[in-house]
């Protein structure tokens, strides 16, 4: 025994074995760290991409509504003496066709002679019909976009809003469909998935890297818009004696109903103040409320020795406040006491801190 302990020949094999064992352990650790770090980078990108994708669609919805409002400022050629307006500015309301005015110039709630007057009741009614048709198109677009973001009611029974968002996200970001990947999305702080919701999903994926993932869109709510009714004034003529009569003011909707039936709102469309919104970091340590979307992506990955590890990332993206305009009221340059709406379909989005 004593001889064996003192025998120093053949020491390399055990030392090599120890070094080799340590190296293998080290390599397993390196590979594990690599796989987890790489997966974290990957899921963070996926979460960013999902939040940006949905927020983009929400911004597109707002831009579409604003664009159609602005389109109503350019329905007819304003004539050689008028300067064409650009989005975000008030048209030259002095040199217009009084029977087909830009929507920003149509309002005249107090029969003010300095503001637009329709020449007859008939032309005002035709204008009301035209504006209502555009309002109906705006509603169609809003419904379509709400379906796209997984929040609408569907335009017919064969369309599932959940499947619309699934289709869009899986088509644009195919890796969301990889086994072991689950996604939660929301656009309202009140419907953000709870820690328990996410934990349940993590528990489902833990230990099973190839389980089919899921996209949970229950946190998505419809974007809401409302029509701001426009009051217009038209001239009248007293029959037989053929002299000007009183100027009459009505809402555009009143031209479209008879009797005492309730008048629909007809005018330009603006975001409803009661809009779903998320809470994002403001940069000064606080939070701010913005129209936007959030996403949590969870992915189970296989790592050597430890089996399955679940990684998670969260991202939010929001529509930049003031980046576009939909009915912002500004003074008319020709008549500063009167406020007119402007429209600028340039809403854009950015990623938020979480």
């Amino acid at each position: 025994m004593k001889l064996a302990l003192h025998d120093r020949s053949g020491q390399f094999i055990p030392i090599t074995a120890m070094v080799a064992f340590t190296t293998v352990i080290f390599l397993i650790a390196v590979v594990n760290v690599y796989k987890v770090a790489q997966a974290k980078l990957k899921v963070q990108n996926l979460a960013d991409a999902v939040a940006l994708n949905i927020a983009s669609q929400m911004a597109s919805s707002m831009n579409k509504v604003s664009d159609l409002n602005e389109w109503m400022n350019h329905m007819v050629d304003m004539g050689p003496n008028a300067t064409p307006s650009t989005p975000g500015t008030i048209p030259d309301c002095h040199n217009i066709n009084h029977d087909l005015p830009p929507i920003s110039c149509a309002e005249n709630p107090n029969a003010d002679k300095n503001l637009n007057m329709f020449t007859t009741k008939g032309t005002a009614a035709s204008y009301a019909t035209l504006v209502q048709t555009i309002n109906q198109a705006q509603v169609q677009f809003i419904n379509a976009y709400n379906n796209f973001i997984g929040a609408g009611t569907g335009s017919n029974s064969s369309i599932s809003t959940q499947s619309s968002l699934n289709s869009i996200l899986y088509a644009d970001i195919p890796e969301l469909g990889d086994p072991g990947t689950s996604v939660f999305v929301w656009n309202s702080q009140s419907s953000k998935p709870t820690v328990q919701d996410v934990s349940r999903s993590v528990a489902l994926l833990t230990g099973v890297a190839n389980r089919a993932g899921a996209l949970d869109t229950s946190g998505m709510q419809s974007l809401k818009f409302q029509i701001r009714p426009v009051q217009v004034t038209y001239n009248t003529t007293i029959p037989i004696i053929n002299v000007p009569g009183p100027n009459i003011t009505k809402s555009l909707g009143q031209f479209l109903v008879s009797g005492n039936a309730p008048a629909p709102n007809v005018g330009w469309m603006e975001p409803d103040p009661d809009q779903p919104a998320i809470s994002v970091a403001s940069g000064q340590g606080g939070t701010k409320t913005r129209v936007g979307a959030g996403a949590v992506v969870i992915r189970a990955i296989s790592v050597p020795v430890f089996g399955t590890v679940v990684v998670k990332a969260e991202a939010q993206a929001y529509v930049v406040e003031g980046s576009g305009q939909t009915g912002n009221m500004v003074p008319d340059p020709n008549n500063p006491a009167f406020m007119r709406p402007v429209f600028q379909p340039t809403y854009w989005i950015k990623l938020a801190g979480t």
Binding site: F12, A20, T23, Y34, L52
Partner: protein, 213 residues
Amino acid sequence: MMNRRGQAATEMVFVIPVLLTLAAAAMAVVYMCWQGIKVQEVANLAARVQGQERVAGGVDLATIQQDNGTNLRGDIDPTLASQPLDSAGLEALQGRQLPRPLPTTVYGKILKLVRDQFNVNELSGLFVPEPKYGLVGYSDQVKVVRIWQPPKYFGFNVPPITVEATAYGGEDSHAYGLVRWGHTTSGGGGSPFWAEQDQSNGQYNNLPNPNHD
């Protein structure tokens, strides 16, 4: 049989190559893990550039492609090959001189941004194929591929090791219906890109943000 003199030297003859092999393998694994993380990081960054700057409007399709830098093809995607890449295949790929888009184009900016993250020796095995547009169009896909050819070991040709990363980006919401205008005069002159973020300082140029939100 009982004479143990020279045993250590005999063991070393077998053990040292084993240790060297193990060390080389460990270094190779660590290096490629590091490269794998780096490739994913730059892919994420490149996807943000693609998402923020891809042009969708212009005078005609050729002008849009010119602004996006997608009219020259750029790098190929070596991962699409039907068979695993061998050393000869990698050499053939590295020898290909494809026309590269200008650094002022979107794809050109992505190429520059990715290539700036790697040192000169690594560039020959770096591939950034042309970004793919999303099927619906809100999120585009950017892929970065890094292929490393380990040195010959005791005369053996070790096959190239490939790491790849795909990332997604898309913020294409600037003015619905006027999506991200590029140059609006024929021939590429005239107005600047309608909207983009300057990656060097993070500032959004040409984008309305009156409230500095």
